[in-house]
Point group: C2
Chain length 410, copies 2
């Protein structure tokens, strides 16, 4: 390939051969996080760039016991093909937990087990988004959703996210001026910003959705990680026929098992099940059985309280250090839960410059740019606090502050 | 809903609400097998309708030991997020096995771990098929591929499948008259027909593909289940830059763990990895680790020989009973491997009638209709022999023969 000739859009070479890919592939943002995480795999680097749960809080012994029990008691069934919808007792467990935590009446028939909550986004895109359809999303918005939906070629309508939730006037404006098929958001401890919508804002948004019949996809990956243990209402409570909820065991049990689920009204669920079957027949059944066995034999609420307390302490430390050490012109969010703090730098400081300079100091951060579907956000950073020790949080923020102070002077 | 009003295409109700789905959903065949399998869940029924491996041949103890070892030795890592491509030692194991079994030089970088081989079909559709693209497929063709690809809205070109493989003249004609993006086929022990392409036919087809640059998707879910242990060449051998192979541990290890993989040239692999990441980040990492640990500690070739011998005996019994008991006008394939026999009834006998009458006799069969993308096949049946005892094969074929003889007289 010493002599490169221009290729048509969508064509790639392998050796000498050219391939043409589906047009949707050209619309997918290259995973920025993926590239950055490759750079930061060096264990000497303090990484705030990723989004990993703290491995110290994964109950390996509990999972091992559950796995041994499932395989000893019902191994031939647990290793065989199973139903597309998923293991019914696990779906019942999830339904019961919604009742207990949020007071929601959800039938197990409205729950489909998926490969982590990321797969929910792919299935929702498949079922609901035709090329050119309009989709409203928070600004900044979750990169995984932007990637999953982009393959179905929607037009994104970003809605500015404030500390109390998406801007209602901007949302109403977009819904009134475009035939928006759905709104996607993360009301609890949003990724990337750490913002939790207030209850008042939820009600206000729900009215906007109700009047216009807009579907709401509520990504609730972090719903159990609210530091104070107080759960705010789901959109399902206000809009039972318009709300889809995605959930995940990745943050409270173990991400490596890829266990998530989607909740949807029956007519939408019927289509999601068809799409799920075409996509991979069903989710890992052995892991579904292990997860259920585990959830039935441990005190999951006690485990979640431990995770919340640890993340709260890490978050409090990170936010206080940012306020103490960074220039006053740097602002950050005050997360009520989750795994991320969102930092806004003074105008004119590029987060890519911060990334590059910080990496030389052995600290990795995630520039906020890929969370914007319309460009912008070049002065924002996402910092992960769940997967560091307090010492690393302290050292990392100290170094990062020095880097930002230096850039701020130029 | 006592008063039903007509809905626009693609609209569905839930309670009183109407939903509009993506146009692609209207093009997906409802899963016929799914509906039929629901009818046949009654354990008193002898089912030839499904496609399950024999659970007696699943090595539950071996998997339990592997799971215990992985969790004891490296549990925190095995339960954490991992890479999209999959566990590298497992990909190396798969590469080594291709070298040993088929003499193929494949790099682990050309292998992506998926949720069973069904997910390969979804990812291939995502990456390669735009709406309206032309796709050639065997006639009859694998229903799972028809479902997965249909969501990307291709135009199917069925190519008649003979006992020695797809019809070369018909294939060449379709490729010469339409811009066919890819051919999808199952060269080894095809689902549904049980046909294995001869080596001569493979060469002839490879020349047709080579001359026209057509991509070939070789679904090799049953490649290890050839009764005589003799592996015929992969299209990758003839067409290294044009062949994509999909593989699966479902038939040799355990389907419930949903472990499959796709092999593709680097430029296609790059796109498949992007699509995989958007679809579900990565496959179940705990199960990848368990599968690898298992494969390294057992004699997998010995296990596969046991599966082959059992399935060969069941197949031989089923075919001989069909020839002995059914009217001479009924024909069936002579599988060299896999899990299915394909039965063609005399013209005028409907497989749906056979299905209904056989069900009354407590025998379930699968009408061949959903395997045809262009209609037709109304007098064909797929019979599964892997998941029955010899006694059930005998009793089931006896009852089925009575049903067909009765229908043949009318």
């Amino acid at each position: 390939m010493s002599q490169q000739t221009p290729l048509p859009a969508g064509a790639k070479t392998s050796g000498g051969r050219k391939y043409t890919f589906a047009s949707r592939m050209a619309k997918t943002p290259k995973s920025f996080i993926r590239e950055i995480l490759k750079v930061t795999e060096d264990p000497r680097i303090i990484s705030f760039a990723g989004g990993l749960p703290n491995p110290e809080l994964i109950d390996v012994g509990g999972v091992a016991r559950a796995a041994a029990d499932v395989l000893a008691q019902d191994g031939k069934v647990a290793l065989q093909y199973s139903t597309t919808e998923g293991y019914r007792p696990l779906r019942q467990f999830i339904a019961d937990r919604y009742k207990k935590r949020l007071g929601l009446d959800i039938s197990p028939d409205e729950i489909l087990i998926t490969n982590g909550s990321q797969q929910c986004l792919d299935l929702i895109g498949k079922v609901l988004i035709s090329a050119g359809d309009h989709v409203a999303i928070e600004r900044p918005g979750y990169l995984g959703a932007i990637q999953a939906f982009s393959l179905y070629e929607p037009v994104f309508h970003p809605v500015i996210l404030h500390e109390d939730g998406p801007d209602p006037a901007m949302l109403a404006h977009e819904l009134d001026h475009y035939p928006v098929r759905l709104f996607y958001g993360v009301p609890n401890s949003q990724n990337p910003s750490g913002v939790t919508y207030t209850e008042e804002r939820r009600k206000e948004l729900a009215e906007i959705f109700a009047e216009r019949g807009t579907l709401v996809v509520e990504d609730d990956a972090y719903g159990e990680l609210n530091f104070d243990g107080v759960s705010l209402p789901s959109f399902r409570q206000y809009l039972p026929e318009q709300a889809i909820i995605t959930g995940s065991f990745s943050k409270i049990l173990a991400p490596g098992m890829r266990m998530g689920w989607v909740v949807a009204p029956p007519a939408i669920m019927e289509q999601l099940v068809i799409a799920k079957q075409a996509s991979d027949l069903h989710s890992n059944y052995l892991s579904q059985r292990i997860a259920y066995e585990y959830l039935c034999t441990v005190d999951i609420d006690a485990k979640i309280r431990v995770i919340r307390a640890r993340y709260r302490d890490q978050c409090t430390l990170m936010v206080s250090l940012i306020k103490e050490l960074m220039p006053a012109s740097v602002t950050c969010t005050q997360p009520r839960g989750g795994m991320f703090v969102w930092v806004t730098l003074p105008d004119g400081i590029s987060s890519m410059d911060v990334f590059e300079h910080a990496l030389k100091e052995q600290v990795a951060v995630l520039p906020g740019i890929p969370f914007y579907t319309d460009g912008g956000g070049t002065n924002t950073l996402r910092l992960n606090f769940s997967n560091s020790t307090p010492e690393k949080v302290r050292t990392g923020v100290e170094r990062l502050s020095r880097v930002i102070r230096q850039l701020d002077r130029h």
